[in-house]
Symmetry: C2
Subunit: 340 residues, 2 copies
Amino acid sequence: MKLQHLFIQASLSLLILFSGCQFSQEQKTEEINSPSKHYLESWNEGISKSTIQEFVKKTTTVGSPDFVPEKDRIAVFDNDGCLWSEKPFYFQLAYAIDFVKKEAPNHPEWENSPALKSAMEGDINGILAKGEHGIIEVVMASHTGMTAEEFSQNVKDWLATAKHPETGMAYNQMIYQPMVELLSYLRANGYKTFIVSGGGIDFLRVWAEEAYGIPPYQVVGSSIKAKYEEVDGKKAIVKTPELNFIDDKEGKPVGIHQHIGMRPIIAAGNSDGDYQMLEYTTQGSGPRLGILIHHTDSEREFAYDSLSHIGNLKKGLIDGPGLGWVIVDMAKDWSQVYPK
Amino acid sequence: MKLQHLFIQASLSLLILFSGCQFSQEQKTEEINSPSKHYLESWNEGISKSTIQEFVKKTTTVGSPDFVPEKDRIAVFDNDGCLWSEKPFYFQLAYAIDFVKKEAPNHPEWENSPALKSAMEGDINGILAKGEHGIIEVVMASHTGMTAEEFSQNVKDWLATAKHPETGMAYNQMIYQPMVELLSYLRANGYKTFIVSGGGIDFLRVWAEEAYGIPPYQVVGSSIKAKYEEVDGKKAIVKTPELNFIDDKEGKPVGIHQHIGMRPIIAAGNSDGDYQMLEYTTQGSGPRLGILIHHTDSEREFAYDSLSHIGNLKKGLIDGPGLGWVIVDMAKDWSQVYPK
């Protein structure tokens, strides 16, 4: 229990400290009700699917008392555990450890750091045993002191080769097909889709577009500070080991305000770190929708949230139903978890 | 000269400290070469117009060696002096002074502050005489201690009634018609248009959409910190008197990185505060375009930048031509300045 708690703390500290992006892609604007395209096909019929469909219908039907002008249709999504898996630990932590392993030969001085030594040996518990300080050392070694372009390329190279220890899948294949369909369905109905993650904004920007159709400028996340300086005769953005913003808990509404500048109409998350984002969204006037992804599927994914207080989602499960939030039961509501 | 310099300093300090937004609007996507629509009609024929047109053509023509995929077509624009006027002083400062005048009756304690007293009397020099401290007092009184929604409404109310002291026009009518046409022309050619201003991000977000067709989430600017807290029984974003980010000079490439996450293809500005933004943009690989608006029109607008070192644009005028940047001569290149 203590380690679990320490781990959550440490992981959050880790996620705080990420930032570098490179490419982008226009959001595809799918034709509404295009006969050639089926939306939400990986969602089983039930209250979750019908509530989402009814909400989208009433907010996009001209003449409906709940009609929302397209300019106001903002939908925000958490990432870890909401759009892709987060077990056995945040994938960004796996990236940090793999980077330290790969670069260790070029950094003999890392041998003097117990945390970095543990990372070289892939000993996650050894890192966690050092607490936040250990995690931060691993993050700094893997995420700063390079240009945004270098960081971005490193993440791309890692995604192209790394495999998840339990599923053997590429990490960016472990995205939730039903959520990818939901993002697409919302965009087809005039919603702008944003990621609002506790994870590192630049780590996400490298692959979010290909995975979710969300361009770099619609990603909000935690970040470290950056500097504009000359590198190899050219001006570049250099990632520095100083915290800029923590996009978690009450930080999420603030991040939404600073980056998007509007109170969203729809918010989706999966942990109590998303509670304030859903609260901020659903307390707005007019129609609002809150969605919580409940990890109940131990066979196809990982089951780890329950009222028994294990996991990161408790307050949301207690308050959510009373607040009208949709609680998605992954085992029951999804016919498929990962893309085929 | 000294007061001029002090004023620039003070104004920058002021612009640093703004942040509140509310509504948005989809960018109109104009049909390319739509016969019913003429682009750049307020631009006179000449090297500035033809250079811009040729750049857009070569970056959007499939098969061209300089073709840029739509996902990478990012164009950034400074605001003050680039998209709307900035004389006799930044319009946001006029807002701050008018707000203090209006609210003074509710704040008898303001009588004890020389700077706020000057503001109440509309005595700009009296404020500037107090230096940065005076400006900051006026900013804090007019921009913090309220919710983002309250701030946004205050700015809307001001824009609906305030008139520019010299032209008698509403401030948001003093936008540059040729630049509005350029923004529209770029969007019609698949470019995403962003504002990257030293001004307050939330001040801009209130009116940028109506004026320029740029939604709140495509505005980057200076900001103050915000808090998520309960106000009148509802959770809201509250603007606090603490600096968050200065989006000026080397801060502009950093702001672009943090908000947009990509190196732009096109950058337009009008002062040396935009130099780094144009440098960062045009040093990118592949086709890049830098544009500097040179204030040369004393009859239709204000002439204040020249190599004689008066004004805010000097380094750009010296280096720009050699770097291939387009130097727009407002008097020669624009057939019209403000919308008719």
